[in-house]
Amino acid sequence: MQLFFEQFPIVVRSLNVGFLQTLKLFFVTLIGAIPLGLVIALGSMSRVKPLSILSRVVVWIIRGSPLMIQLLIIFYFPGIVLGKPIWGGGEGGRFAAASAAFIINYACYFSEIYRGGIQSVPVGQEEAGLVLGMTKPQIFFHVKLSQVIKRIVPPMSNEIITLVKDTSLARIIALQEIIWAGQAFMKSSMGISGAIWPLFFTGVYYLACNGLLTLLFGWIERKLSYYKV
């Protein structure tokens, strides 16, 4: 027990460093995937056939294969093909590769949510805007957007909570996120070796993070509950 109290601050300090990397990957993914998802959604709804087919095929491939394989391909494949790695060495290079893989993967999931949200707005809303002399962009921003957001908040919150947990996959390319940090204590790290509890303890971080996100999304949903669609 005494040992535990001696180990605890050391472990927490180490896990904090890993968790920072987890959070960085989480936010970078959101910042990249939220707008990229919109681009893909607009592409897949485009009237230009080749564009919509291309978008849908990309979404199908990305959603149909494991994120872990996508990580490995994005990390190693350019190096194999070009003969030299493009991601640079060290943690920075691994982070860049992981970010690219996560952004592409999550953009595809988000794009399907957006598409569903946009297409679920009744066509009568657009027609009402048109007969009132509105332009297409005015209709999108003043009539549809709020309704789309209201509809996509619940599925987006599910997806974003999944993202928090999915970041742990990045350790397949040795990104030093929190699970990687926890696992290190099983071998040896910071003078502690053969300890498994730090790995279990990482769960607390995920729970705390997702608890906060759940509160945040609940708040947004309540903010938008003043009207019904």
Binding site: Q125, V131, L132, M134, K150, Y226
Partner: protein
């Protein structure tokens, strides 16, 4: 001079021709009712007038200006159509109110957007104060002065349709179209909406009403158009058509209402 001339309008969806050579004229201030069985093309005709559908053939002429000519692509540019739509208004069967806005904001929104539009007519470049005053006056006119801050879901169907009517009036369309404005309402709510529509009759407002309310059509309109299978079978004086139809198809259709 006629305010509206519809000439030889045709519209097909795929292989089915839904409007077959539709022609009629209206004078300013007239109210026309369009009656006819389901699928006869009434909604399609109103949608063509509001350029939600583009006719395959024919012309739409308002106040002497050819707004649309199927043979002249220059009349069909999207930018132009948006401006031309302002000459018509359309009240939908299922209201299509904007759910995220209050009744007042529903009426104000299009006025606000138009006021910001540099290319809009001078009469539409209104100040925020004028817009709010105008919207409140319109809601008052349809009997909803105590409902302005309510959202659509807080209103009954009849109230929602009256908001939709106020919204359509906001841009002062020359020709206001109603597509079965009471068909989505419980019977006890149709009266209030029909009363409002009747009260809108005025010498400078032209109205076209698609309706299944025969007594209303007879009492409120100056002109009745009976459509069947995409053609106008019979049109003319409301009493003559509804009380003494001459065509077999009209007689058959009207017999269902007695």
């Amino acid at each position: 001079m006629a305010i509206l001339e519809v000439k030889n309008l045709r519209k097909s969806f795929g292989a089915t021709e839904v409007l077959k050579d539709i022609s009629f004229t209206m004078e300013k201030g007239q109210v026309a009712s369009i009656i006819g069985s389901s699928g006869s093309g009434k909604t399609t005709l109103l949608r063509c007038l509001n350029f939600l559908e583009l006719p395959d053939a024919g012309q739409i002429i308002v106040g002497g200006e050819t707004l649309f000519d199927a043979a002249d692509p220059a009349t069909q540019k999207e930018r132009e159509l948006r401006r031309k739509r302002l000459r018509f208004g359309l009240v939908f069967q299922n209201f299509n109110l904007f759910p995220q806005y209050t009744a007042l904001k529903n009426v104000m929104l299009a006025m606000e957007l138009l006021a910001k539009d540099k290319t809009a007519d001078a009469r539409n470049r209104r100040t925020p104060d004028e817009i709010e005053r105008e919207a409140k006056a319109l809601l008052d006119q349809v009997g909803l002065s105590n409902r302005m801050e309510n959202y659509p879901w807080q209103l009954s169907g009849g109230q929602q349709q009256r908001v939709a009517i106020a919204r359509a009036l906001a841009l002062k369309p020359e020709i206001l179209c109603f597509d079965e404005p009471t068909s989505a309402l419980d019977p006890e709510l149709t009266g209030e909406v029909l009363r409002v529509i009747r009260s809108l009759k005025s010498s400078d407002r032209t109205m076209i009403i698609v309706t299944h309310e025969m007594a209303f059509a007879r009492d409120v309109s100056d002109h009745v158009i009976f459509m069947d299978g995409g053609v106008i079978v019979e049109q003319g004086d409301p009493n003559a058509i509804i009380n003494n139809p001459t065509q077999d198809r009209t007689i058959q259709f009207l017999s269902r209402f007695n």
